[in-house]
Each structure stands twice: as C-alpha cells, then as structure tokens.
C-alpha cells in the first residue's frame, strides 16, 4: 500500500487501512515510546493514546509537511516526553540509557532485532562518545537539542552538528540493511 492510499484510507476510517498502518509501524512507533519510558505498562498506555490520536487526527496531517512516519513518530515522542514530565509518572527505574536498553534487548527472546547480522549493539559501537551522548539524550532521554546545550554547556551550533553526525552514522549503517 502506498502512503497516499494509507492516508486516504485512514481519512475514510477504513479498518483495513488502520490495520495495515498498525502492522507496518507499530513496532517502530512503540520503540520510540519505550525508549523514553522503559516501564512497559506505562509505555503501552502512552502508545495506545498516541496511536488513537494518529488515526483520529489524520485530517490534520498534510502532505508536504514531511512524510507520514516523521509526523507519527513525533506524536509518539511528544506523548512519551509529556508523560515523563507529568506528575503521575513514576520515577522508578527511570535510568534509561542506550546501554540499559541494549542490555534489555539482548535479554529478549525474539531475535527479530538482528537484521542481516547488524544489531542495535553493533550500531551503537559505530558511534563515538560525542555522538553516543547525543543519541542517548535525544532518543532515550527525550531531551531537545537546546536542553542538551544547556545541560552540558555546549554551544547550540556544536550540538546541531553532532546531531547531524550521529544521524549520518545511523544513515550509513541503515542503508546496508
């Protein structure tokens, strides 16, 4: 199904389109949430609300405003960040970082995380310390680049170029998959 078809299907509240969207994107989108909220029950609650929001707000998505995935991932990311900043968010076990995450992934039984022999751990090994810190704080701790600049006293421009460098590594690696 093309992105266009999915979107028009969603706008018509076509159940098959929603089903397709779920099958194609739920793993990645839930990944966005669970990176920031490691507690699975809370992450699933946030994911539920975010996915319902994606389907019901599809009318506000406009083509030309970036592709569908970016839009959906941002809804999930923002929902997760809002949750971690809300009062009822339990702080227990909130020490998520790349390393904890990779460790947790390794402990899981499904081996779907290894695609063509490249796993998340290998991917992370490609990043230098600066880049790892950026990915850690942006992807796993939900920081904005301005917050990173403040927290580590790094000029904003430097943070921006490091974000770019980190993405470049991911891009290079993901092209092989």
């Amino acid at each position: 199904m093309q992105e266009k078809q999915i979107i028009s299907g969603l706008k018509a509240r076509n159940k098959a389109a929603v089903e397709y969207l779920y099958e194609k994107y739920s793993r990645a989108l839930f990944g966005v949430v669970v990176r920031i909220i490691p507690q699975r029950d809370q992450a699933e609650e946030v994911f539920h609300d975010a996915f319902v929001k994606i389907v019901s707000k599809i009318d506000s998505y406009q083509k030309g405003r970036g592709a569908l995935y970016t839009w959906m991932a941002n809804i999930c990311r923002n929902a997760a960040i809002d949750k971690t900043r809300s009062k009822e968010f339990s702080k227990s076990g909130q020490t998520n970082s790349i390393d904890d995450y990779v460790y947790a992934l390794e402990g899981r039984s499904d081996t779907g995380d290894y695609v063509d022999g490249i796993g998340v751990k290998e991917l992370m090994a490609e990043l230098n310390d600066d880049q790892k810190l950026i990915i850690d704080y942006i992807y796993f701790k939900g920081y904005s680049h301005a917050e990173i600049a403040e927290e580590f006293n790094i000029p904003l421009g430097t943070v921006k170029s490091r974000v770019r460098a980190s993405f470049a590594v991911l891009k290079k690696k993901m092209e092989k998959i």
């Binding site: 929603v18 779920y22 739920s26 793993r27 990645a28 989108l29 839930f30 990944g31 966005v32 669970v34 699933e44 994911f47 539920h48 996915f51 319902v52 389907v55 019901s56 030309g64 405003r65 970036g66 592709a67 995935y69 970016t70 991932a73 941002n74 990311r77 923002n78 995450y101 992934l105 899981r108 499904d110 995380d113 695609v115 490249i118 998340v120 991917l123 310390d129 600066d130 942006i138 904005s144 680049h145 301005a146 600049a149 403040e150 580590f152 006293n153 790094i154 000029p155 904003l156 430097t158 921006k160 170029s161 974000v163 770019r164 993405f167 991911l170 891009k171 993901m174 092209e175 998959i177």
Partner: protein
C-alpha cells in the same frame, strides 16, 4: 545548498524540534530543491529503519484496545425529534426538561470547547516562551563570542599549532594556541580532542626556562571556540597533558597529548 543540509536543521526538523517558522522554511526549501527533499527522505527512511530495528512489538492486548477505542470514536448521534405530547401538563414538563437538557448539553459542549481552547492556548504559550528562551540563549552566546573576537582581532597574536602526531595518546589531536607576547594573553582553540572520563581534565602548560607552568584547563567539547587561558610572558613551547580533575602542579609526562614549539 550543501551548507543548509549540513547545518543539521533537517535532523532537527525530523525530530520535531523546530519552531513553526523554521519548519515552514524547511518545507519550502525541500519543495524547491530536490537535493534537500532527497536528503530529508533518506534521513526519514533511516530513522524509521533504526526505530524498527531497535523497536519492540507492543503486546497483542494493546492492539485490541486501540481498535476498540477507535470503534467508539464514531460521529455523534443526531438529535431525535420529540414525540407529540399526550397531555398539555405533561407536554409542558416535557418541553421544560427538553429545554433543560439542551441547555445542559450546550453548557457541556461549551465547557469542552473552552477547556480545549484553554489547553491549546496554554500549549502555544509554553512553546513561545521556550522558543524565546532558546533565542535569548543563542543571542547571549553570540554576543560573548563577538566580544571575544573583537578583543582577539585587536591583539597581535601568533598561532602555535599543537599536534598529537608524535605521541601515543591521541595521534589526531590538534589544538591551536594564540599567544600575544606583548601583553601575555593566551587563547586556546580546540580543533580535535577526545572527550575525557569524568574526573580528568586537559591542562595546558607553557614551557619556559623555569620548566612547565600550568596555565589553565581546556574544555575539549568546545571545538572551534576561543578559550581564554592564564597569561604567560615567556615560553618556548606549549603542551597539553591529561591530569586529574582540576589540574596538577607539575605535568604527568606519560599523559602528554599534544605539543608545539614557539618559532
């Protein structure tokens, strides 16, 4: 075009971190220049691939719950017309309670509407405040940099490149020292230094006839920025070593990272 792509703005766009104005700018640029569109598409594809690779399947129960929630979200039922009244008295009451129900319904609708408006306005306000503080911060950084540049340009500075090539620690380390012999001011600019473990610092040494003197700590993460060091009036060489946090009295020579002689 290259500069726009390499500024990192596309990445921030994908992360949803740009202001409304910047976001529109990216979209206009992408519509106008195919290279930008392509870069954006590639970045998005790799972000999706990364998220999928590192993602997890939510449990099947959640899927059922989501679809159940979506079922409920059907359009609201239309209001049915009233039956004809059986008696006048009853009809009056009926009319009255119907009117009351309508008023209550309207009040609820208005309450929801205004609550919604209130929250979205509040959200917009928060975004604006955040945006403003980011701008103020950027301005402050630029102002400080500008003042420093002015001071720098007013002096008579020699550049002494320090290289790590000859030493074991970091072969590709490079730091530039700018030294004005007339008034003894020293600035350092990091070109390439690895970040250190917590508990360690890079210390700059001026090596003169009396041996090395520590003239300050260098921040490795501030690449390309001028960092002001302590003054020194005579030196034959400058060097950087890794020392315990806060620096040492004398340099730890086996931790020598870079060195450069004054010519």
């Amino acid at each position: 075009m290259k500069g726009y792509i390499s500024s990192g703005i596309l990445e921030l766009y994908l992360l949803g971190e740009l202001s409304e104005r910047e976001r529109q700018e990216v979209e206009q640029m992408a519509a106008r220049y195919p290279e930008i569109r392509e870069e954006l598409d590639q970045l998005e594809a790799s972000m999706f691939a990364f998220d999928r690779l590192s993602g997890q399947k939510p449990s099947p129960a959640i899927k059922d719950k989501i679809f159940a929630s979506l079922e409920v979200e059907t359009p609201p039922a239309s209001i049915k017309t009233m039956d004809t009244p059986e008696s006048k008295a009853l009809s009056r009451w009926r009319n009255f309670s119907a009117a009351a129900a309508v008023v209550a319904l309207l009040a609820t609708v208005f309450a929801f509407y205004f609550a919604n408006r209130y929250y979205s306005t509040q959200e917009e306000y928060r975004t604006l405040v955040l945006e403003r503080s980011v701008l103020a911060e950027e301005l402050e950084i630029n102002q400080a940099r500008y003042e420093q540049m002015e001071e720098f340009l007013g002096g008579d500075f020699d550049r002494i490149p320090l290289e790590g090539e000859a030493y074991e620690m970091q072969k590709d380390a490079q730091v530039d020292i700018f030294w004005d012999r007339n008034d003894a001011r020293v600035f350092a600019s990091v070109r390439n230094l690895q970040l250190l473990e917590p508990g360690q610092d890079y210390q700059l040494w001026a090596i003169g006839e009396d041996g090395p003197i520590g003239i300050g700590i260098i921040n490795a993460s501030q690449t390309g920025l001028l960092q002001q060091m302590e003054t020194v009036s005579a030196a034959g060489a400058f060097a950087i070593t890794i020392e315990p946090k806060g620096g040492s009295q004398t340099p730890t020579l086996e931790n020598l990272v870079v060195l450069g002689e004054v010519v």
